[in-house]
Symmetry: C2
C-alpha cells in the first residue's frame, strides 16, 4: 500500500473531520488540505521560495490559463509546470471548464456543443476547442498530480430539464476523460477526480454520483455553487470514505472549518490571496480591513499570534500606509499573511484532539 | 576617531576609485556605495528581509513623499522611518526639493519665493511650504543618517543670470540648513551634505563649492543634471579628499563605474528598480530585455553568474511569461536581480586590485 498512489484515510474524529493523506510522486499532502491558486503558474506576487516559507503543501494550476499562455509547447519543453515554475511539490489542476463557461455564458465568446466547448481567446481571438480529451491532455502536459474531469455545470437558476441534462453530459464527458487518462502512459501514478453535478436536487446529486462511481474515480468533487449546507452535506455523504472528497473553489475560513466537519478533504480558493490584495486580512482576533483609517496610527502587528513575515516585521500602521500609497509590497505582505493564516488553520484541523 | 561619525577615506587606487566608509549610528557603509530609493518607505515590491538578502547597505527615503504621506506625526510615533519600515541599517534622505521643483516647473502647482517653495499636494490640494528649515525638520524626523540641504537648481537651458542666482540662493539656503541642523540636538552624529550648483560653468561650480566650503559640510553633492563628463570630473576635483562625494540620482552601471573612477563615493538611483519593472535586466553578459520574444523558449537563467533568487530559481522563459501575463512577481524578481547586480558591482569596485 505504501507505494500505491492514492488517498488514504487515517482516522475520523468525533467532530467529523477526516485526517488522511494524498500520496503523489511529488510528495504527500496531509488532509484536510487547502491549496492556493497559481493562476498563471505563480501564486500572485509570490515566488516558490515564499510558498515554501509559508508552508504551502500543494498549488493549483489553472489549465485554461496555462493552455493559452504560455501554451503547451513551452510547458512540454520544461517537462511540466513543476519545472517551469520550479515548484517540486504536489500539483493540482482544474479542467479549465470554469473559465471557459464564463467566456461562453458571460462574455458570449463561445458555445457548448456535444463534443466540448468552442471558444475564442479574448486577447488574441484565436479559436480553441476544449473537449474532455483536451482537458486531460492539458493537465497531463502540465504534469499535474491530481487531475479533474471536464464537467458540465449549469447556472444556479437552471430548470429541472437543464439540471438533468447537466448530469447526463457530465457523466458522458467524465467517461471520455477516464478513457483518455487510462490510455495515456503519462497518467501513471496520478489521481483523477470526477465532479458531481445535480444542483440542489438530492435525487440528481445521487444519480450523478452513482453514474460516476460506476466508471470509477480516485476522488469526487462538489460541482456548481453550494447553495445551502444541506446539499453539500448530502453530497459528501454519497462518497465512500476511502475516496478523496474535494470541495472546489471554497472558501472563507469559516466555510473551510464547516466543510471539514462535514468530511470534505481538499479545498482550493482564490479568496485568501484576492482578499489580501484588497486589504482584508484574516487574524486570530477576526477580520482586519487594513485600509480602514483606524489603523493609521496602530503600532501593533496585524495578528499578534501570527509568525508570518508581515506580522513579525511590520506594524498595522505601516501596512495601512503601503495600501494608501498603492505600494505593491502591501498586497504581497497581506497575501503572505493570509496564506500563512490558512496553512496554520489547516495544521490545527489536521490534529485530532480526541476521537 | 573610531567613534566619530564621519566619512573616512581608506585609500585611492591607481584607477582613481576611492575606498572608504561612512560611519553612522546605524552602522558602517563601505564606499563606493550604491543606495536604492525607498520612495514611500519601501523599495518598490521589496520587504526589508529582501533588502537584507540582496545585501543592500543603505536606503534612501524621499522626504517629500514621506512628509506628505504618511506624514511626520506618524513617523515621530515610530521614532523615525527606520522603526516605521523596520530597517535598522543606515538611511540617506534627500531634501525633497527635486519633487517639489517638478511640481512647480512641470505641473505649475507652486512657486519659489525667497524663503522657500510654496506648493500644493497634487492629491489633496493641501498647501505646504518647503523652507531650508523644514527640509532639515523633515529629515531629522525621518531620523536619517545622511541629510542633504535644500538647494536651488535651475533648468538645463537656464541663462547665466539664472545660474548665478541658483548658486547664490543655494549658498543662502545651505547656510540656513546648517544653522537649523546645528541647533537641533537630534542632529548629533549625523552627516550633512551640501549641493554644488553652477550648471556647466566651471567658474560657477568653483564659486558654489567655495561658498559652501566656507560654511562647512560633511560631504558635497553634484547638483543638476550632469551634462558632460568634463564638468562632473571638474566638480569632484573641487572637493577635498576627506569629504564624502555624492553623485545624486545617477545612474546606469557604466555611469557608476565611470563616476567611481573620477572619485565619487556615493550613488542613489531609481534606474535599477524602475528598469527592472519595465523588464530591462542587467547581466554579466549585457542587458536582457526579458519581454523580447527571443526569450520565450529560453531555458537558461537570466544571468548564469548571478546568485540572486531569480537566477538561482527560474528560467528566462518563466520570467518572460510572468511579464507577458502582467504577473507582478515578474517585476519583483527583476528588481531583486538588478539590485543584486548593483550590490555585486559595488563589492567589486570596493576591492582595490592594486594601487
Amino acid at each position: 500500500m505504501e507505494d500505491k498512489l492514492d488517498f488514504r484515510l487515517n482516522d475520523t474524529a468525533k467532530d467529523g473531520i477526516r485526517r488522511g493523506q494524498i500520496v503523489t510522486p511529488h510528495g504527500v499532502v496531509k488532509t484536510p488540505a487547502f491549496v492556493p491558486d497559481a493562476t498563471y503558474g505563480a501564486v500572485r506576487l509570490l515566488s516558490v521560495n515564499d510558498l515554501e516559507n509559508i508552508g504551502i503543501p500543494m498549488v493549483l494550476g489553472n489549465s485554461y490559463h496555462l493552455w493559452l499562455r504560455p501554451g503547451l509547447d513551452l510547458i512540454r519543453q520544461h517537462a511540466g509546470l513543476q519545472d517551469f515554475m520550479n515548484w517540486h511539490k504536489p500539483l493540482l489542476t482544474d479542467s479549465g471548464g470554469y473559465q471557459v463557461y464564463s467566456l461562453v455564458y458571460e462574455k458570449k465568446m463561445g458555445r457548448v456543443v456535444d463534443d466540448g466547448i468552442e471558444f475564442r481567446d479574448h486577447l488574441t481571438g484565436d479559436k480553441y476547442f476544449l473537449t474532455p480529451e483536451q482537458a486531460i491532455e492539458n493537465q497531463l502536459t502540465i504534469n499535474s498530480d491530481v487531475l479533474v474531469v471536464l464537467d458540465y455545470p449549469v447556472s444556479p437558476d437552471a430548470n429541472d430539464t437543464d439540471n438533468e441534462y447537466s448530469v447526463q453530459r457530465t457523466t458522458k464527458w467524465a467517461k471520455r476523460c477516464r478513457i483518455a487518462f487510462d490510455n495515456d502512459s503519462r497518467s501513471e501514478g496520478k489521481l483523477l477526480v470526477a465532479v458531481i453535478q445535480g444542483a440542489n436536487s438530492k435525487e440528481l446529486r445521487k444519480q450523478s454520483y452513482e453514474e460516476l462511481a460506476e466508471i470509477g474515480f480516485d476522488g469526487y468533487a462538489f460541482g456548481g455553487h453550494p447553495e445551502n449546507d444541506d446539499i453539500v452535506e448530502y453530497t459528501v455523504g454519497l462518497i465512500p470514505k476511502e475516496k478523496l472528497r474535494y470541495m472546489m473553489g471554497s472558501g472563507v475560513p469559516s466555510d473551510i472549518e464547516k466543510y471539514t466537519k462535514m468530511g470534505w478533504d481538499l479545498f482550493d480558493c482564490v479568496i485568501p490571496t484576492r482578499n489580501a490584495r484588497h486589504g482584508l486580512l484574516y487574524t486570530s482576533q477576526g477580520d482586519v480591513r487594513i485600509t480602514n483609517s483606524k489603523y493609521q496610527l496602530d503600532k501593533s502587528p496585524v495578528d499578534i499570534d501570527c509568525d508570518c513575515e508581515l506580522c513579525t516585521t511590520y506594524t498595522r500602521a505601516y501596512l495601512h500606509h503601503l495600501f494608501r500609497v498603492k505600494e505593491q509590497l502591501g498586497p504581497r505582505l497581506a497575501s503572505i499573511h493570509n496564506l500563512r493564516f490558512y496553512v496554520r488553520m489547516m495544521l490545527r484541523l489536521q490534529v485530532n484532539y480526541g476521537s
